[in-house]
Amino acid sequence: MSAMQRLAPVLMPGAPLLTLSGVSRRYGAVRALQDVALTVWPGEVLGIVGESGSGKSTLLRMLNLEDTPDAGDYRLALPESPGNLFALGRFARRQLCARAIGIVYQNPHLGLLMAHSSSGNVAERLLIAGERSFARLRARAREALEASEFPLSRLDDPPRDLSGGMQQRVQLAKAIALEPALLLLDEPTTGLDVSVQALVLDTLKRLQRDRRITMVIVSHDLGVIRTMADRVVVMRHGRVVEEGLVDQVFQDPQHPYTQELVHAKL
C-alpha cells in the first residue's frame, strides 16, 4: 500500500529559497539527471543520499552552477531576483556564486589553494566580493575560521600542511565567509577519520543552529544525513525516487531502493 500524495505547503511563511525543476543532464549515453526537482526552504537542511553514480554529486555541481543541464530551471530567492540561474552568463554566474552560494567539496584540492595561507583562502572570497581593506579582510577571515572551529594558531599555514579535517574547516570558513544564502556540502566528511568526521559534523551542526544557514548536503553516509538534515531526497539512476522528513524516510522508507539502502546501512 503506497502512502498518500502529500499536499503543497500551506503553513510555511514566505517562499522557498531554492526551487529546482525539470533538471535533466546527459553525458554522452549516460543520463546523469532525469527530471529532478527540489525545493528548499530558508533555514532548512536538505540531505541528498544515493549510491555512487546516482547523480547526487552532479546535482550539487548544478546547484553550484559549475555545469548547465540540458533542461531545467533553477531559482534562488535573492533580493535581486536573478531569474533562472541556468540562463545566466559566465560572469553573472561567477558573481552570484561568490556572493550567494558557498560550497565544501569532499576533495579539498577542488576548493582550496593548497600553497596559499589558510586565512588567504578565506580572504580570497572576500576579495572577490570587493573587500579592499587589509584589516577587515584579516578580521573577517579570522572570524570565519574561528566560526569553523579552526585553530587560530594555524591561521596562516597553507592547507597542504594541514590534516584532512582542518582542510575541511578552511573550506567551510571560505564557504561561510560571505554569509551565503545557500551552503552546499559535497560529502564533506567522507574520507576523514571517524572521530574527525564527528567533530566536523558537529561544527556544521553548530553553524546551522547559530546562523540558520540553508544547506544542501550530499552524502552516501546515512548517518551524516540523519545527523544533519531535516528532509532527505533519495536519488537513484539520476532520479529522485523518494523524498521526505529524515525520520520518516529512515524509519518508514517507501521505495524498494530506499528500503534496501536503509536496511543495508543502518
Partner: protein
C-alpha cells in the same frame, strides 16, 4: 621584352627595417591597445637582429613608430650608455635616419628597459617599455587561457591575495618591480619591471606609453590621461622606494631613484639611476647652461 624592362632598378624598399606588412600589423595592434588601455593584444612578433628577451618587443614598436624626423633615446635601467642601449640606439638610427639623443627633453621616441625617465614626459613624446612578462596573472594562474578569461571577468582577487599574503608573511608588500596596476579602472597590467617609484608617473600622464613583449608576443598601452592605479589595500597605502633622502655620489642630486653601488670598504654609495639627469646636473654645476625639464618627483615627493 627583357627582364630589365619588367623590373625596376634595386632600391631599399623597407624603411625602418620591418617590412610594410609587419608595420601595418603593428599599427593595427597599437591602435587596438590604445583603444582598450591595459588590455594585452597578441601580435606576430617578427625576427629582429637582436635576441629574444633583449628588447625585441620594444624594438618592433619603435621601428614601427620611427620616422626620419624622430629623435630617439634608448635607456637601459636608466642609462643611455649601456651596451644594450647603445646597440639598439645605433641600430634604430641606422635603419631610420632618425637623430639620436641622450636628453629626455629632446627625444620624441624613448625606448626603455625598466625605468621611466625622471623628467616629466610631454604629450609629444612616446615611451616604449620593453616587457619580459606581460601577464600579471601568470604567478597566480599558469594556464594562460584561464588567465585571459580572468581578465575578461576582471577577476583579480588572486593578485590581491598575493599582496595580502605578502603583508601577512613579511609585514609589508614585497612586490618591488612590475607592480600590478589597474589601468583605466578595468584591466590590470604589469607596468614592466619598472620600480614602484616609476608607476605613479604613468598615471594621468601627458605622454603615451606602449609596453611590448617580443618573446611573449603581446603588447598593451597606457594612453595619455589614463588612470594607472597600483593595487593597494585601502588601509595599507602604496609606497614607493624609500629613496627620497638619498644623494647621488657623483652629481649631488637627491630625491630621485638611485642605484646602490656597494663599496669595497663596506656600505653603499648611491648614483642617480636616470644617468642623463645626473650628467645634466654635473654639467650645470660646472657652469654650463643646461635645460632640465620639471621632474615628476620634487624633493623626493611625487607631484602629480
Amino acid at each position: 621584352m627583357s627582364l630589365h624592362d619588367l623590373t625596376r632598378p634595386w632600391a631599399a624598399f623597407s624603411y625602418g627595417f620591418l617590412d610594410a606588412e609587419a608595420k601595418r600589423e603593428m599599427r593595427r595592434k597599437l591602435i587596438k591597445a590604445i583603444a582598450v588601455p591595459g588590455c594585452q593584444m597578441p601580435y606576430a612578433s617578427r625576427e629582429v637582429p637582436i635576441a629574444r628577451g633583449w628588447g625585441t618587443g620594444g624594438l618592433q614598436v619603435t621601428l614601427t613608430l620611427v620616422n626620419p624626423t624622430s629623435v630617439i633615446k634608448v635607456i637601459d635601467q636608466g642609462a643611455d650608455d649601456s651596451v644594450n642601449a647603445a646597440s639598439i640606439r645605433r641600430f634604430l638610427t641606422r635603419v631610420s635616419g632618425a637623430r639620436e639623443t641622450w636628453d629626455t627633453t629632446e627625444a620624441s621616441l624613448i625606448q626603455s628597459r625598466h625605468r621611466v625617465p625622471e623628467e616629466r614626459l610631454r604629450a609629444d613624446q612616446v615611451l616604449v617599455l620593453q616587457v619580459p612578462n606581460p601577464e600579471p596573472l601568470r604567478p597566480v594562474q599558469p594556464n594562460m587561457s584561464i588567465a585571459r578569461q580572468m581578465h575578461a571577468d576582471a577577476d583579480y582577487a588572486r593578485l590581491w591575495l598575493v599582496l595580502y599574503e605578502q603583508i601577512v608573511r613579511a609585514g609589508r608588500i614585497m612586490q618591488g618591480a612590475a607592480y600590478p596596476s589597474m589601468v583605466n579602472g578595468r584591466h590590470v597590467m604589469t607596468p614592466s619591471p619598472i620600480p614602484r617609484w616609476d608607476v605613479p608617473k604613468l598615471n594621468m600622464a601627458q605622454h603615451l606609453t606602449i609596453l611590448s613583449a617580443g618573446r611573449e608576443k603581446r603588447l598593451y598601452a597606457v594612453p595619455p590621461f589614463t588612470s594607472v592605479v597600483p593595487l593597494a589595500f585601502s588601509d595599507v597605502p602604496y609606497k614607493v622606494e624609500d629613496h627620497a633622502a638619498l644623494t647621488c655620489a657623483r652629481s649631488g642630486l637627491s630625491g630621485y631613484f638611485m642605484n646602490e653601488i656597494p663599496q669595497a670598504a663596506g656600505g653603499s654609495a648611491y648614483e642617480t639611476s636616470d644617468s642623463n639627469l645626473g650628467i645634466k646636473a654635473i654639467r650645470r654645476a660646472g657652469g654650463e647652461t643646461v635645460e632640465i625639464a620639471p621632474t615628476w618627483y620634487q624633493g623626493g615627493e611625487f607631484r602629480p
